[in-house]
């Protein structure tokens, strides 16, 4: 399996006032294509900083980050914006959908910034394809405020997929959802990971959510403390089948 993410001695230092905060103190990590990596750790462990750098939202103070073999650690802001658009799909805790905007328009948004001269019909087709992949093709015309939390998160997942990125980066995607909906969202991630082979990186502080991944990396004080394959992986599809049908 080819390596998607390769990180070597990654250091990130923030200067807050006169105090230097070392958020990352030398992280080495490799992620192969098709992995489902869970990143855990308490707050202040550096996992958020790690996610920002992996997501090309921020640049490391020192160290190297190869994404698909391309060194992105020294790129300009505009180059990083293009990388984010093409190679990374973000899913956030707060969904971050545009209000008063249809699901379809929300999903199309990354296409507006990336593909130059893509025809409207082509954009619609691609957006509908990914909405179908998350099971929301019937809700394409619904505005985001007309959708439930789980549906909104699925729209957000569809949006992250529309540009066929190399990695799917989910930051506490179940933080605002109840247990059943959380499992439903995890089922989508697992399905996408298994069926399309997309690399998923899941940032979470919930240990049981982390167990849906194939591998768990734990952060503490800016370094990786554990890195192990999940021997007893939770499978969302089986759990959903075992759960009683929703009463409503």
């Amino acid at each position: 399996m080819p390596t998607v993410i390769s990180v070597k001695s990654l250091v990130k230092t923030y200067v807050v006032g006169e105090v230097e905060v070392k958020a990352l103190r030398g992280v080495d990590l490799e992620v192969e294509r098709g992995e489902f990596l869970s990143v855990t750790g308490p707050s202040g462990s550096g996992k958020s900083t790690f996610m920002h750098i992996i997501g090309c939202l921020d640049r490391p103070t020192s160290g190297q980050y190869l994404l698909d073999g391309q060194d992105v650690s020294r790129m300009t802001k505009d180059q990083l914006a293009a990388i984010r658009n093409k190679k990374i799909g973000f899913v956030f805790q707060g969904f971050n959908l545009l209000t008063r905007t249809s699901a379809l328009d929300n999903v199309e948004l990354p296409l507006l910034y990336g593909a130059n001269g893509m025809k409207t019909a082509e954009r619609h087709k691609r957006a509908m394809d990914v909405l179908k992949a998350v099971g929301l093709e019937n809700r394409a015309d619904h505005h985001s405020n007309q959708l439930s939390g789980g549906q909104q998160q699925r729209v957000a997942i569809a949006r992250s997929l529309v540009n066929q990125p190399s990695i799917l980066l989910a930051d506490e995607p179940t933080g605002n959802l109840d247990t059943r909906t959380s499992i439903e969202v995890m089922e989508i991630f697992q399905k996408l990971n298994l069926e399309t082979g997309i690399t998923v990186i899941l940032i979470t502080h919930e240990v049981d959510i982390a167990e849906y991944g194939t591998r768990t990396v734990a952060f503490r004080d800016g370094v990786v403390v554990t890195d192990k394959q999940n021997t007893r992986r939770r499978m969302a599809q089986d759990e959903l089948a075992a759960l009683p049908a929703p009463t409503a």
């Binding site: 914006a81 293009a82 990336g114």
Partner: protein, 405 residues
């Protein structure tokens, strides 16, 4: 990312909050409409002056006796005794002159039966209707013979006719008393309406100038000579010739000031036009202030909008928008706001100008210049006041923006 896409994105963003968009535009709408209306009123006034000049005859030259300053003594024009009927005859023989009419006027009380009316009695010559393109409606103008004989005949303006004999009466042949002397009515002029000075030109009577001189004022001089040049292009040359002739006839030494004034209708109108232009500029600049306020309103809303949509900006950046894209989006939003506001404002300004014409009877003319100016100003306002908020949006850090609550 194409500009077309950015415009699409801006439209979508604006349509997401229609009420706010409409209110923001309102400032721009009112500002542009005010400018358009004010300039339309000013242009209308100028157009009506031009029309008045046309109807008075662009080739008209007026010679008045006296000058504003003469030998250090200020005199009212037309009151000097230096201009005599022979001067008018001499002027009429100059080349390039079509018609000449000597003038001698006085205010007088006129009585017909039990009605009386005080008005301007204009002593003039037979060619005046031709010079002013002002036809006689009923009867005829007085004749050369009337002038030579200083006959007691009168041609009434419609207002005087209405006052003395009643509306739509036919007083030709009747006799009226002017300064206790009987005058026979030989004609009634067509209605001419207001002059560019706002005077009612129909409130007058015409009498042979010789009659006014000899039988009403008892003087040997005239007040003025109205001259029509043969060609409008020769007006200035004709005016110069008249001045030269009169200086010779009045034996004015070189270097001494004229004891008369030669003015063309266009000169007189241009003074008034300048006053109107100043007024228009004043009104338009006051309206311009409201445009400025509209622009500041747009900046205010855009700044609020940037703060309110911080997470949206963060998201757009996370999914690949560059700083430039965000800058352009907000800039285009501001420009769209001001251009749409400007467009609606132009339409509203048109409407208000039409309304003023309809209900107030004031002449208005919406000039293309004013439209371009207002539209250009609206666009410039959008760019100018939209840039700062847009730059603020583009400078946001995506991580901070995404975390913003």
């Amino acid at each position: 990312m194409s500009v077309f896409m950015i415009i699409r994105i801006a439209f979508k963003a604006l349509s997401r909050n229609k009420m706010r968009t409409a209110l923001t535009m309102l400032g721009m709408i009112i500002g542009v409409a005010a400018v358009i209306t004010m300039v339309a009123l000013g242009t209308g006034a100028q157009t009506s002056i031009d029309a008045a000049v046309q109807s008075a005859g662009t080739n008209t030259v007026i010679v008045s006796a006296g000058n504003f300053t003469q030998g250090g003594v200020r005199q009212g024009q037309g009151n000097a005794s230096t201009l005599i009927p022979d001067d008018a005859v001499a002027i009429s023989q100059l080349p390039g002159i079509l018609y000449t009419a000597a003038g001698s006027s006085t205010r007088a009380q006129m009585v017909a039966g039990n009605q009386n009316w005080n008005t301007q009695a204009q002593g003039t010559d037979v060619d005046l209707p031709l010079i002013n393109a002002w036809p006689v409606d009923d009867g005829s103008f007085f004749t050369t013979q009337d002038v030579t004989q200083a006959a007691k005949v009168v041609v009434l303006g419609t207002v005087v006719r209405d006052q003395l004999f009643g509306t739509d009466s036919e007083p030709v042949g009747q006799v009226i008393q002017i300064q206790h002397q009987p005058f026979t009515v030989v004609g009634v002029m067509a209605s001419k309406g207001q002059s560019s000075m706002g005077q009612d030109r129909d409130d007058t009577v015409f009498i042979p100038y010789t009659t006014v001189m000899k039988k009403m004022r008892g003087v040997t001089f005239i007040n003025n000579v109205t001259v029509a040049a043969a060609e409008a292009s020769q007006v200035t040359a004709v005016a110069d010739r008249i001045a030269t002739l009169l200086r010779v006839r009045h034996k004015i030494a070189p270097g001494d000031p004229d004891d008369f004034m030669v003015r063309t209708i266009e000169e007189m109108a241009s003074v008034r036009k300048e006053a109107t232009q100043t007024m228009t500029a004043l009104l338009a600049s006051i309206a311009g202030v409201s445009l400025l306020v509209g622009g500041i309103g747009i900046m205010n809303i855009m700044l609020v909008s940037v703060t309110e949509r911080t997470r949206e900006i963060g998201l757009r950046m996370a999914i690949g928008a560059r700083g430039r894209d965000v800058l352009l989006q907000f800039l285009v939003e501001a420009i769209v706001l001001s251009l749409f506001g400007g467009g609606i404002g132009i339409a509203l300004g048109f409407g208000v100008a039409q309304g003023v014409t309809l209900w107030q009877g004031w002449p208005t003319a919406v000039s293309p210049n004013a439209v371009f100016l207002a539209f250009g100003f609206a666009a410039a306002t959008g760019v100018f006041f939209g840039f700062y908020p847009a730059q603020k949006a583009a400078a946001l850090d995506p991580i901070d923006a995404l975390r913003f609550e």
